[in-house]
Amino acid sequence: MISLLQALVDGVLNGGVYGVIAVGLSLVFGVLGIVNFSQAQFLMIGMYVAWFIWHATGIDPIIGAFAALVVGGAIGALLYSCLIRHVADASVLAQIFVTVGLIAVLENLALIFLGADYRSVKTSYQTEAINVASVLVSKPYLIAFTAAIIVSVLLSLLLNRSWLGRAIRATAQNEAASTAFGIDGLRTKSLAFGLGTGLTAFGGGVILPYASVNPTVGSQYIVLMFTVAVLGGLGSTMGALVGGIIVGIIQSVSTLFLPVQMKDLALFVVFIAILAIRPQGLLAGVSR
Amino acid sequence: MTTVLSVNEVSVRFGGLVALDGVDFKVKASEIVGLIGPNGAGKTTLFSTLVGIVRPAQGSIFLEEDRIDGSAPHVIARHGMTKTFQNTALFPHMSLIENVMTAAVVHASVKEARLEALACLDKVGLSPFANHSPQSLTFPQKALAEVARALATKPKILLLDEVMAALTHVEMDLVMDSLRKIRDQEGIAFLIVEHHMRAIMGLSERVLVLNFGRLIADGPPDEVSRDPQVLTAYLGHGHA
């Protein structure tokens, strides 16, 4: 019973972070209608940014994650305005393979310039845990989860209360009309894309205390991210968070009775099942 | 005359919206029936339901003796009913004749299908454009091309969705002649949606009127055009 409770706690804490990692994917699809297959590479970018900041200054990756958000966001916005915006009226093939091509470009740029070695951080609280009624609440998980929740709340405020958020939602719903009101479609979309990639990069910084980074780390997370986003409904930011928690729980509970290597297998089966049964997700499209 | 299409108390709902409400009518073999109604009355929904894109919540649809509601569109097409698309849905990366052949190869070899396709194009007067791409056709030509493709499915009844929308009176008369000829030679029945009264009155032996998903009239054209319910539907209260 304790181990189930432990698994649930771990699942929820991890899941909140998965939610923030995947919410960017969901946002991009909801606003721009494209599936960014290279989203996981922004996780990698975020992890590296936070790592380098920690390596140079000793600043905790959770703080570094905010810098990662900016860097990941800037790269994303740039890529959108130069490249990705052209797929809006292109074929399905183009829409898929532009971002698929980016996977190789981003991964191998990292490989060439940063090398293939795994890098990790050392923080004071890395191996500590709080004991709550015999359930060990891992400190790095808890801190990451808290940061994730804070950012989610900020995101929600941004989308619903700020001018940028309104511009994003307006452009998503009716671009022609928004342009008539003076909203620059390209700028708004680039910012929206950047926000999406930035959030995933933030997630990267936040998990660094308990995960290591190397150029290919993205491929470990890609299906997980998509499962979370699709589960919650591509386009629903609230859904991504709920989806994240559900996925986190599925993952950690499945390790109770499956060999560790198979925890992702359970996830993939769930993913395909969701796509088959309810592709619009459990909380179907809120922003689109 | 045998009944080719029998629509029995068909209702269609989209969530809470009732798109079709107890629609009930029959079409006989070789009959030309017009379908009119204000915008949003449910004409396109009816067509989509008849060819199997939409499933009725209640009621049944029979094509001759076969019950077809709930069947996939390709099954219904092979049984003998298909429709044209209002915004034309020709296959953009195939030539006109290949478009028509696609429907024909369902029941014939590629060689035979080519001959059939040429014949269908001929019936609508598009033979000279057989090797053209759909993008090079005018909108009226595309509408006729859809008719040709529909003919290639060897239908017993054809549902035409505003194929004469962009035509001049002269062109309209030509198309109406072609349709009458097809009906006379092949024995195909037609259910035609048109907004031009000239086409409806000129072609239809019978007219159905749909309003808010309900069939409010079913009779010969001159009767229907004087029906007070129909006039109210189109012009509002106080005009009957």
Partner: protein, 318 residues
């Protein structure tokens, strides 16, 4: 199409001749074999990708093919020629099972589902005992043997790879010019209109994915027999198998008969050249270049790099 067929036949014949003329153990011959294999993998992908069913999971079929014959050889002593039909059947079964949840999915959703399925296969192969786990399996080396589909030097493999290439091209050409070809093109252009016109769209898509899966499995089998060693990371690799197969087709010309060949002829020698002349520290350059090339082609010349010289199938200029 006629020009494309002629080019295909010439390349096949030319390869056979090269196989006899060049030293069996030479590097160019080895590259030739890989080009033919990659072109065939591309052709398998082309059967579905060329008709708008964009799959990112073809590595599943490749890996299943490679593992079925290798496991059959290692554990049961089954000759790979007999294992080949088994590999095809296993691959087709997987395609059938996968079709149930994925058939109604469109575009990126479909691609995502195939990606997940391929990743699932990779994991399954890593944890199952019978597949040798993450360390992989070796094909037992018996020396030159037609019976066991293995030879000491690449040169002797050339006829087999030419055969694979020829079969994959014939299958594609036949499929496209048959009645099914019309259905596939119609489903690609407008699935709803095709359905209303009488095309059984589900059956059509299923048919092409089964043929594609079977052909891809054969490629996997030949890969195993050629390289003597398989492991989950290699044969179920998304970038090196799934995306590679799509890459050569997209660059060469999607939906065309010779697209995969031209793509392979460009990519493989280029990759070998770069790997040979660059130091290890920039080992990521070829994949980087190919990723960039993929993006450029897809945005600027979606009909493939060869669309300028080689007429598209059907001879229609759009």
């Amino acid at each position: 199409m006629k020009q494309a067929l002629i080019v295909t036949v010439l390349v096949a014949l030319g390869s056979l001749v090269a196989g006899f003329v060049f030293d069996a153990n030479s590097y160019p011959i080895r590259v030739l074999c890989i080009v033919l294999l990659t072109a065939s993998m591309g052709q398998a992908w082309n059967l579905v990708g060329g008709f708008n069913q964009i799959s990112l999971g073809h590595s599943a079929f490749f890996g299943i093919g490679a593992y079925v014959t290798t496991v059959a050889q290692v554990k049961f002593g089954l000759n790979p020629w007999l294992g080949l039909p088994l590999a095809m059947i296993a691959s087709v079964l997987f395609a059938l099972i996968l079709s149930v949840p994925t058939m109604r999915l469109k575009g990126p959703y479909f691609a995502l589902a195939t990606l997940a399925a391929a990743e699932a296969c990779k994991i399954a192969a890593s944890v199952m005992g019978i597949t040798g786990g993450p360390q992989g399996l070796s094909v037992p080396f018996v020396g030159d043997s037609w019976a066991m589909m293995q030879f000491r030097y690449p040169g002797t493999y050339v006829p087999i790879f030419v055969g694979l290439f020829a079969i994959s091209s014939i299958v594609f050409a036949w499929l496209v010019s048959s009645r099914v070809g019309y259905f596939l093109r119609a489903v690609r252009d407008n699935e709803l209109a095709a359905e209303v016109a009488g095309v059984a769209t589900f059956k059509t898509k299923l048919f092409s994915s089964i043929v594609s899966a079977a052909l891809m499995a054969v490629c996997g089998v030949l890969f195993a027999q050629f390289t003597y060693f398989i492991d989950p990371e290699t044969v179920f690799s998304i970038p090196n198998v799934s995306i590679r197969a799509a890459l050569v087709v997209i660059i060469g010309g999607v939906g065309t008969l010779v697209g995969p060949l031209f793509g392979a002829l460009l990519i493989i020698p280029l990759e070998e050249l770069l790997n040979a002349s660059l130091s290890d520290s920039v080992g990521g350059l070829p994949p980087l270049l190919f990723g960039a090339l993929l993006i450029v082609v897809v945005l600027l010349k979606p009909a493939g790099l060869t669309s300028i010289r080689v007429p598209r199938m059907g001879g229609r200029k759009s």
